[in-house]
Symmetry: C2
Subunit: 397 residues, 2 copies
């Protein structure tokens, strides 16, 4: 048995994989044992999932094998599901084993936050993982085939997306693009298909630039999306949703894209959370537990105006880099570095050739914004997998 | 208004389309008004449906626009669904209109015969039309996606095909071929997938050459099909089937490929039937109603040994040719021709590169039989659509 410190990273999402990759680079030989634990043997691009969900791209293009990203001579990889985190014993219980740690990085995926809307957890699907977007895609295709056998069931051709944030908006853009193809393949009149995007907040893309929001809504409305903004979903049932003033939208397909909360394992471990997210210290640590770092969806941080940063890929990646730095610093008894989010811009795709974005202090629309989105995605591939990964996956973006 | 006789053909399946094409060729200008009525604006290749059903070929390759087959200067085409046949008024009531006729050709599609098995009509799917095979294909793909989200539901990966006649055998062959691809796309272990082919008769392909049956079962067993021969399905439920001695096979996908009966519109018209099929006279007419011909699935004829001919594409096509001849003869007051079935051979495909067949008094197996099947399909394309259709669709067979 060695005396070198053990670092366990839970989750190979944006935060976890960046932490692993940076540790791999910064740690000296035998300075620490690093183990990455992930439910699947692949990392996936959450920012790309709206495409395979709508069927406008293959699932395969939204993921990459973890073995292609990490150097398995330097980092151990365990494919397993975390069952419990035992902070007092410094142990992580897996479905099929136990790992002990000196330092823990929690980069587990968040969970859908349904704000207590009855039936939402049971009846709606989520754009959250490779498996969940496969289900959405196959479910949608299945509804077209079912409709041809039961033409009175127009609810098979009605699609409700709850939430007009980035995920909801990007998904309806892709879905609207896919509809003509699905209609053609199934001999369905496109005018029968309805896509509703329902948002409780008074605006789509809440908090985003109003001019770009207006542009985005105009583009999507033209593509056939019906917006119901400032309209709360009251209930989700097997038959559809009830919105606003008890209006029923009958639909066999409800996608919930409105909220993310932290992973339940964290509160079950006795760590204090707000909606499952940990209000980490400025070094990304759990307050009072200096050997546990939290990155990504489970980490709660506030901007200078005191508003929480939304959980995005961008912030998770930046956290991963700082987390790795601070882990190395801890091991070397060097000072921790403060995390400061640098907003490098935000782009929302609106389907083929259309997007809206804010970057470098400027607004972008249309084709230019779509290219910007592509550039960001390619930059990410380069960051995690170098030019090889750009060549393998970049052409599909 | 003209005095020339009106011929109405119901259904553009093998029998109806052959009748139409031959009338188009044999009738002189203004000798008769011919109207072809069909539910869809396309003709489809029933003998090819097992492929799009399993997803080993596109739906598009199993159909052709009726407008590409018939000469609309010579034959009227009405896309509509027949609601009622009124023989006393010589009228056909359509969903959206009425047609009167002097001569009627009933070439409507048959219906699944479930032999009163409880739940079969409600819970099983059928390989009977473009729409029904689209449903099967999408349903199967959906089950793989569902399984990944609910891995305890092994019934999502269990497929039950009722009937090991030609349709059932050809379908399980294709499905077994498709499984590896579906497993790969969905990260599913292929050993978890089960395909059951259940047949009540004491043999698969009842009535076919025993040596070829044995070969077919060996090929399909090797591909992963589990046969339950001499085993009746007692009940079909939302959870699967109950077979033999109250054994339950849990399955989310049951395909009923075991029986065909005649179209219910015929018995509703007051015409005498056996399982919905009309025991036609030797000229293909309804006994006692010399102006009504029945071809295809609804026509019941007996071989010299007194056994009914099974409803196949081959017999329907031959009936179409004789039916057209007899219609022309009736109009010209010439004698009717007797229908005699000439068996030109039978080939059952067993998936990619494998088949069994009887033709020219010989037995064929393996790749040669698969080529024979292809040759038969190409010959059919040539018969109905000439070389143009062979070029357009033939490459996909």
């Amino acid at each position: 048995m060695s005396n070198i410190p053990k670092i366990v990273i839970l989750g190979a999402g944006y935060g976890g994989i960046l932490t692993a990759l940076r540790l791999q680079k910064e740690l000296n030989y035998n300075e620490a044992d690093v183990t990455l634990v992930n439910k699947h043997d692949y990392h996936y691009f959450t920012t790309h999932l709206h495409m395979p969900a709508a069927g406008t791209d293959k699932t395969e293009n939204a993921r990459v094998s973890i073995s292609k990203l990490i150097d398995e001579f330097k980092i151990d990889f365990v494919k397993s599901t975390v069952v419990q985190i035992r902070t007092q014993d410094k142990k992580v219980i897996l479905e099929d084993g136990t790992l002990s740690y000196d330092y823990l990085v929690i980069g587990l995926g968040g969970e859908p936050e349904t704000f207590g809307i009855p039936g939402m957890l049971e009846h709606a699907m989520n754009i959250r993982s490779i498996n969940s977007v496969r289900l959405i895609r196959e479910h949608i295709e299945y509804q077209f085939a079912r409709y041809k056998r039961e033409p009175h069931r127009t609810d098979y051709l009605t699609f409700v997306v709850g939430g007009a944030g980035f995920t909801g908006i990007e998904f309806v853009g892709e879905l609207a693009d896919r509809i003509p193809e699905l209609c053609k393949q199934n001999d369905v009149d496109p005018s029968l298909v309805k896509i509703y995007n329902v948002e409780a907040a008074p605006s789509a893309l809440p908090g985003f630039d109003p001019e770009l929001v207006e542009y985005a809504m105009a583009v999507l409305t033209k593509k056939g999306v019906t917006f119901r903004i400032g309209t709360a979903i009251k209930e989700c049932t097997a038959d559809g949703v009830v919105v606003g003033d008890n209006e029923e939208i009958r639909s066999a397909t409800v996608i919930w894209a409105a909220g993310v909360r932290g992973n339940r394992l964290i509160e079950e471990a006795g760590i204090e959370t707000m909606r499952g997210r940990v209000k980490v210290d400025e070094f990304l640590r759990v307050p009072g537990q200096e050997n546990i770092y939290v990155v990504g969806d489970n980490s709660l941080m506030f901007n200078p105006e005191g508003r929480p940063y939304p959980p995005t890929a961008q912030i998770a990646m930046q956290q991963g880099v700082v987390c790795a730095h601070n882990l190395v610093a801890s091991i070397r008894n060097q000072p921790q570095k403060k995390f400061e989010f640098k907003n490098k811009g935000t782009v929302a795709s609106l389907g083929k050739g259309e997007a809206v974005g804010l970057a470098f202090g400027k607004k972008y629309k249309g084709r230019v914004a779509a290219w910007l989105k592509k550039a960001i995605d390619i930059r990410y591939l380069y960051t995690i997998g170098g030019i090889t990964l750009v060549v393998r996956k970049g052409k599909f973006l």
